[in-house]
Subunit: 94 residues, 2 copies
DNA sequence: ATATTTTAGTTTATAATATAAACTAGTTTA
DNA sequence: TAAACTAGTTTATATTATAAACTAAAATAT
């Protein structure tokens, strides 16, 4: 009756990150941090998890002399998100 | 931008329980356990949490000689669920 | 020039959570 | 009357989320 919810997505900050990345071409660490109102430590950990799952790609470069971490959602991430939403709807519609 | 998700509801089993209880007048332990496909231990713990939060009411009686635990969603629970769904929609709509 | 603060993160520690395993108390069945 | 089942609860463990502490370099102030 209730399909399992992907535990990688069923976590507030990771879900917010995915939601955000689905609405933009790409986003850097600071932008994501501001939009999700998260701490750098927490965000760093959650980006790693999404990256390790292959849901996002993370590129570390430099912007001038400062480090720049740029994230994009992957096809796999989009698919996982869509499946998560489908499953979740079973729980929340009256 | 992203509103916080009520942590009491943002947990798969508790969300399933609430979802289920919203669709019925009341439900007993075994029924909930079957519908949510959960273990008795996990369900027992999560029902306690929902009960302590005032999201459900739990009545312990006997059906013949066997214990019977009956649950109902409360007004507070309905409101919390609705607010959770509203917040969640920010995350999942494209 | 050099001390101070800020930026952009990572790593580590802690607190919270979910879950399973073990247990209880009584009931039904063999 | 012993074994298995019902309807749970309690306790232990593993996972997770989060915050705090830390790093390294850059920008700013003195």
């Amino acid at each position: 009756m209730f399909k399992d919810l992907d535990p990688l997505l069923h976590a507030q900050l990771r879900l917010a990150v995915m939601s955000l990345l689905l609405s933009v071409e790409s986003a850097d660490f600071t932008f994501i941090r501001e939009k999700t109102n998260s701490t750098a430590g927490n965000l760093s950990v959650q980006l790693d998890k999404l990256s390790e799952a292959g849901y996002i790609s993370v590129e570390k470069t430099f912007k001038g002399k400062k480090p720049l971490t740029t994230c994009k959602v992957t096809k796999k991430g989009i698919k996982a998100f869509e499946e998560y939403v489908t499953a979740l709807k079973q729980y929340i519609q009256k």
